[in-house]
């Protein structure tokens, strides 16, 4: 692996940038591994990297049915924040935000993590009360979050319309300054490159079609479109396709998969300095470094694996955006797309062991797991290496749907990203 530095850039520039080697090899599957990760999204690639880096388990393969980062990792709107209500969630998401901080240095790859602040607008008395409750709960957990008056909100984000006669007046806002965005693809590529440098095989175009188990019920390997592979530990990190994979091991899961859409505008000069979310009006937006306004829409109402959503969902979102930001009414939209998100009944993820020995799962991040990428990877690696969950992900077990200890962020947030 060639390390990126000012020197190496300069040296390669002299050769017209023709001399760069491939960043990691396109590996073919071997007959056996110590551990297999199913799903080459940011979470799966991160888990492979931490398995090798922190626990010395380097005979690892990441199996991806398409191309790495081609799932929700490459389709999301990249909002990063950790201002969740419950203690368990605050710890989980803040663990990830802390890892985002040094990630570019650690991977020697620019993930473009930008702490531009995530601002959530309050439009009614209920919003004010619930945001203030979040702010207090967050601060008790050491997570930064602060209340802004409408004037302070406008000073932080000048395009905001705080006129009192707006249809949805801005009565204040909650601001998490450490929140922000990162560049989705570079997270997948950075982890893939760093993991491959430690000996991990990154295998694309290799769909897992079966999970093999021995007489004692423990996993013995996987069937794939590129042959059988033996292994004693499998970590499934397949987002919207998790139910399908769990069925291969005979497990029924508390998940439903829905299409979620996003869209971007034509690129314009820098105008929008932070991330603004309005859960009440149902819109959120940021501006990418390329200049596009990045807008997240809602999910369709029905379960689907189609990887595309309906137009009326996008229309609804744009109506909301125009309502909050009249300044953008004449912007033209360039592209829309969809991903399939795996949603749990309490809107919190499932990260831990399964009833099948040797089978671990990381799923249920639904509409909001990009922000958790480094944390989820780290915790899945821990759980697989030690055969027990870390105390941060222990509450996010599968048993909670049986014993009733839900982590009900669904009720706390109603909308999540």
């Amino acid at each position: 692996m060639t390390r990126f530095s000012a020197m190496s850039l300069f040296a390669k520039a002299l050769g017209g940038h023709q001399g760069w080697p491939e960043q990691w090899p396109d590996a073919a599957p071997k007959p056996a591994y110590d551990a297999i990760i199913v799903g080459g999204g940011g979470h799966g690639l991160g888990a492979a990297y931490y398995l090798a880096k922190k626990y010395g388990i380097t005979k690892v393969a990441v199996l991806e049915k398409g191309w790495i980062g081609g799932g929700n990792t490459g389709r999301n709107t990249t909002i990063i924040r950790s201002n969740y209500l419950y203690d368990e969630s605050a710890h989980l998401y803040d663990h990830a935000v802390k890892l985002w901080d040094g990630l570019s240095q650690e991977l020697n790859y620019n993930t473009m993590y930008s702490k531009r602040g995530v601002m959530m607008l309050a439009h009614n008395v209920h919003d004010i009360q619930s945001f203030k409750r979040h702010i207090h709960a967050n601060r008790l957990n050491g997570v930064d979050n602060e209340w802004l008056t409408p004037e302070e909100a406008k000073a932080y984000c000048p395009p905001l319309n705080i006129s009192p006669d707006a249809r949805y007046p801005v009565l204040g806002a909650a601001l998490q300054r450490r929140g922000g965005t990162a560049r989705h693809d570079t997270v997948a590529w950075g982890y893939a490159r760093a993991a491959a440098a430690l000996g991990v095989d990154i295998i694309q175009n290799c769909a897992v079609t079966g999970i093999n188990r021995g007489p004692d019920g423990a996993v013995t390997g996987v069937e794939t479109t590129r042959g059988s592979i033996a292994c004693k530990r499998i970590g499934v990190s397949a987002a919207g396709n998790t139910s399908v994979l769990m069925q291969m091991a005979g497990l029924d899961f508390p998940l439903e998969s829905y299409p979620l859409q996003a869209l971007v505008s034509e690129p314009v000069k820098p105008i929008f300095p932070c991330v603004v979310m309005s859960n009440t009006v149902h819109a959120y937006m940021s501006q990418s470094d390329k200049g596009e306004l990045v807008i997240g829409a809602g999910t369709d109402q029905y379960v689907s694996y189609s990887q595309r959503g309906a137009l009326h969902i996008v229309e609804h979102t744009l109506a909301a955006i125009c309502e909050i930001f009249p300044i953008f009414r004449r912007m033209r939209m360039l592209r829309t797309w969809g991903g399939i998100v795996d949603v749990t009944p309490d809107r919190s993820p499932i990260l831990g062991k399964t009833p099948v020995q040797g089978l671990y799962v990381n799923c249920g991040w639904g509409t909001g797991g990009f922000k958790a990428t480094p944390g989820a990877g780290d915790l899945l690696a821990y759980t697989m290496a030690k055969d027990e969950p870390h105390r941060i992900n222990a509450p996010f077990n599968l048993d909670r749907f049986r014993n009733g200890r839900l982590i009900d962020e669904a009720a706390a947030a109603a909308v999540a990203h």
Binding site: N241, V244, S306, A310
Partner: protein, 90 residues
């Protein structure tokens, strides 16, 4: 937007007239207090979520207001059939 055939109105209408109501044919327990934790988990939380043929409920909220069942392919989103509530699983 998908078009949905309401078996009561016997008309194909736009999705906006309908509300999705989750997986179909999940029977409410007859004797709730007799259920084990595992049975409650299955009733409340476990869902089929198949890639392919899915039995689901819809409600014609902006029409006749009634619930009915449907079979839809979750990869193409295409409806195979819709049928009245109470009719056997298709």
């Amino acid at each position: 937007m998908i078009l949905i055939h309401c078996p009561y109105c016997d008309e194909k209408r736009a999705e906006l007239e309908f509300a999705y109501a989750g997986q179909a044919h999940i029977a409410r327990p007859a004797d709730p207090s007799a259920l084990s934790d595992e049975e409650w988990e299955h009733y409340l939380f476990i869902r089929a979520n198949p890639r392919g043929r899915h039995h689901e409920r819809w409600r014609h909220i902006h029409g006749c207001g009634r619930f009915f069942n449907a079979v839809r392919d979750t990869v193409t989103d295409k409806f195979e059939t819709t049928y009245k509530a109470g009719e056997p699983r298709k």
